[in-house]
Amino acid sequence: MTELCDLLASDLSAMMRAGEASAVEVVGSCLGRIEAVDGRVKAFLTLTPEVARERAEALDEHRGNGAPQSPVAGVPIAVKDVLTTQGIRTTCGSRILETYVPPYDATAWVRASGDGAVLVGKTNCDEFAMGSSNENSAFGPVHNPWDLDRVPGGSSGGSAAAVAAGEAIWALGTDTGGSVRQPASLCGVVGLKPTYGLVSRYGLIAFASSLDTVGTFTRSVRDAASLLSSIAGKDDRDATSLDTPYRDYSEGIEQEITGLRIGVVRETFGEGVEPAVAARVREAIDRLAGLEASIEEISLPHADYALSAYYLIAPSEASSNLARYDGMRYGLRVDGKHSVEMMMKTRGAGFGPEVKRRIMLGTYALSAGYFEAFYGQAQKVRTLIIRDYEAAFARFDVLVSPTSPTTAFRIGERVDDPLAMYLSDVFTIPANLAGVPAISIPCGLDEAGLPVGFQITAKVLDEPTLLRVAHALEQALAFSARPPLLEALTPN
């Protein structure tokens, strides 16, 4: 049965404005769903029910005063545990930050909160956002609500699963190589990675600074546009944040897409793509054609090299960013005879296998004698990938592809094979390297009943066109399947 927590933010917002539901009831519904399913889904690392109820009560009271309301107000949100929340534990899914309580709020979160979003908890993720399955969390994996034996994707797996299961109406995540879009794809929700710099990264605990973005998980494109409108915009605390004027990203998403030029990325239908994934994506492309968009194939000739470049650039930046975990000022400390020994023991005990792998990879790629051949070359490949996109966007308004080559895989299936795991992100990584915005929306199910994601990519700061195409396709597809887990719930 459908409860308040199964509705869209846009519906809930309208109901609250009309006095048909209160923020207290809505948050109560999400907390009830968490109670009912999170023992199995394990989307959350920290729950904040008291803070949530108090906030909802205050919002209900405020609404009684007739003050104008943001579309975000009163809507429960989950926040990935790599975004800092003042006074609320923020772990990055790592032992090294297991007890860390930040003294400051991430800008993206503080903006959503300022508009009235109600935090229900911090979500599980791969350690320091490094991973594609959520199995790299030091606190255990998240289970995909569509099939509890399968991964939710990663690294923002907890945020994706929470939104898919109705534990939150929407969520914040982060996307460095696909960490919003790939789990959105595997969990059957909408995942938006905005243009690099559109949303401030202040308070996003750094992984790879030239690639990290804050993104959203929602159950509709309209909700993605609302949440983006709340969190986007210049922030003096992030020197990479772009000086963009405020806009309401939901304006114009209903416009028709007649005549828009859509490029189908040829390289994303090759080897390794599951037949059901290719089939669902092709069907969705036919829908776009049915909406009188013009469809043509396009090649991104250097796409093949994106994965290699990414697995040099991201670990290199990570090895530098994660040097701050030295046991001195915060986080875990394991004693040693002198500072260097203390540091080495602390890091050896505090980091998990994937984080160690990437720190080692990055340290090697940046070390004397190897820098030019690895990191230097990777930065040049990045230039080639940007040029590919520039050429593509001279001819097309948006590009489309599958989000990930496969649907959700089984827990444990890829843990011993890092390269196979890295391939989950082969279609999402190029957008991070080029800084362009991209979105994943569900486009159907495979034969096992697992969701397939459809990726749309636009040029830098063209979120309006991106969201318009995504909205048009979403309406045409009318994807309405729900995780079997929810169908089995009995009304409380």
């Binding site: 986080g331 260097v340 050896g348 080692m360 930065q379 040049k380 230039t383 890092p418």
Partner: protein, 96 residues
């Protein structure tokens, strides 16, 4: 061919204390990952400039106006060890 890595050296640079079996596993895995990553050498000739940031910005300044900073006690609250409102660290010099 998998890339040969001096794991001890890299671990020391990265300030990572690794168990022997971790070193062995990493040596094999990193060798394979780097073999794949070395593909970046196949394209991108000398005339291609490197890109550090896809959406570049430069000279980002804020007005030179003092703003409140984190109170001392809050900045120290997560310290593994502190003394007299200062972070306490083990000795810096390596001595046996």
């Amino acid at each position: 061919m998998p890339v040969e890595i001096d794991i001890e050296h890299v671990a020391r640079l990265a300030r990572l204390d690794l168990a022997d079996e971790e070193k062995e596993r990493l040596k094999a895995q990193l060798g394979l990952i780097l073999e794949h990553a070395a593909k970046v050498g196949e394209v991108a000739a000398a005339e291609v400039p490197p890109t550090a940031y896809a959406v570049p910005r430069s000279n980002v300044f804020r007005p030179d106006v003092p703003e409140p900073t984190l109170p001392h006690a809050e900045a120290m609250a997560n310290a593994p060890e502190a003394e007299d409102e200062r972070f306490k660290a083990p000795r810096i010099v390596e001595m046996e």
